[in-house]
Structures are given as structure tokens and as C-alpha cells.
Symmetry: C2
Subunit: 116 residues, 2 copies
DNA sequence: CACATATATTGACAATCATCGATGAATTGC
DNA sequence: GCAATTCATCGATGATTGTCAATATATGTG
């Protein structure tokens, strides 16, 4: 969607108050929904968790495929979704692509949901 | 899904550590994904926001339909999703059904995402 | 250059979902 | 009891999505 380009997660951080503090505008609701949709999948949540737990805080596709029990194209697809949403970075070194969590990305989304 | 009954948001609160602290089990990933999926919709985010901002912290369907720009069945559908996921309570008084935010429900999901 | 390995992309398919109109159920007021 | 109002449910439809097999791309090795 174009909303991902319009409001990546970096801009989401300072876009607005937590959703229970003041009414969400239509645009902010849509961009927050896009960010949450990227998280709302079991495989992607496990990917984030496994990347964070991995040595050096990064992992390649080959590290994830087998423990996830998913095909390589499917894992690549999920990784792309997470990168596009701003939760992961991708750095290619040699034949391998290493993914790491964008610091603060999860916290900023959490901050929009929390009421305290 | 049956997962909603298996792990409603109350149990999610104490189910596990934040997702970046330790690897998510398959089951926890699935139940967290269900909880997030209920939030990952612009209309539902706006509903939560509008309910929280409404007088007496509760609102009926009739309060939401027009500002959302959605049909009454669609609004009722979204409300049901949010109630089933544990974010809203429903109390019927007379002809009206009033919805209010379940205290702490959003915070518990936010707590699972936050890394600090 | 040929080959092997790691990853990305494409195309297809089944499943899920957001939405609406029509209808049903419950309550209030006359 | 009847009409009006509020909300829930049903059925249908178009759009999105998760998944995989097949293929393409890129990098390293001999």
C-alpha cells in the first residue's frame, strides 16, 4: 500500500498521542493499522523474537527457515513485510542477508497503544 | 478461531515475557497474533479511540456509526471483534448497547511489544 | 566459465476479512 | 397489540493474505 511509504514507523513515533488520549484521525488510524498488521502474524512475531534472541542480534534467512517450519520463499516474504514496515533492517554480506531489529520500533508502536 | 477462547487477553497479560526478551513459543505467538489482529484495523482503532474519548468512557453503536462513516452492521461487527478479543465490554441497557474499554487490556498488549 | 549456494520474485490457490443490504430480535412508547 | 427504534445476525461479494513450487538473481568457488 502507499500508506507504508506515506507514514513509515519512524514518523509514527511522533505522529500522535496514544490512541486513548485523543481521537485518532482517519489518516493516523490507517497508518497505525498498517504497522500493527505487519505484527499481527504468528510467523512474523516469532521472526522478531528469534532475531532479537540470536547471537549478535541478527539472523539470516537460513537461520529462520528450519525452526519456523516454513518454506524459504515464505520466510523471505515475511522478512520483507517486516522490513517494509520498519521493524527490521536488511544488510547483505556476501550471499547472506542479515536482519536486525530497528531499535525503538517496537517501543514506538507499544507507546501508541499504552494508556499510561 | 478457537485460539481466542484458548487465550483471551486476560491470560495474555501474564503469559510470557516481551517478545524480544525470549523466543516466543508457537502457541504464544499465535495468541498474541490474534490479539494484534483485532487491533490492526483502522475502523477498530478509531472505535477504541472514540470510546475512550466519549463522555462516561462508554459509547453506543449509534454514537459511532455516523462519525466512522460505516454502516451499522459493519460497526456492530467491529465491536464484536473487539469484545471477543477482550478490549471492550458490552452492557445492554434498554434498547442501547454501551461499550467501554477493558482497563489494562491495551497496556498488556503494549507490554508484550515493548522492549524496555 | 560452470556450478553450487543463498536469497528474492513470480504466479497460483485457498482461506480470511471488511463491507453492505436484508432480515431478525429485543425494547420502548402509544 | 402495534409501530418505531436500536442492535445483532445472515448471506453474499470483492479484496487481501499466507503459503508454496517454480524460477530468477546474485555471490562465491573451482
Amino acid at each position: 500500500m502507499t500508506l507504508t511509504e506515506l507514514l513509515p514507523i519512524r514518523d509514527l513515533q511522533s505522529c500522535c498521542a496514544p490512541i486513548t488520549r485523543e481521537p485518532l484521525s482517519v489518516l493516523n488510524a490507517e497508518s497505525l493499522a498498517v504497522s500493527l498488521k505487519a505484527l499481527a502474524d504468528p510467523a512474523r512475531l516469532r521472526i522478531l523474537s528469534m532475531v532479537a534472541a540470536h547471537a549478535d542480534k541478527e539472523a539470516c534467512v537460513c537461520d529462520l527457515t528450519e525452526p519456523l517450519g516454513l518454506s524459504q520463499p515464505t520466510v523471505s516474504h515475511h522478512l520483507k513485510v517486516l522490513v517494509d514496515a520498519g521493524y527490521l533492517t536488511r544488510s547483505k554480506r556476501g550471499t547472506w542477508a542479515y536482519f536486525a531489529i530497528v531499535p525503538g520500533s517496537l517501543d514506538s508502536v507499544a507507546g501508541l497503544l499504552a494508556t499510561v
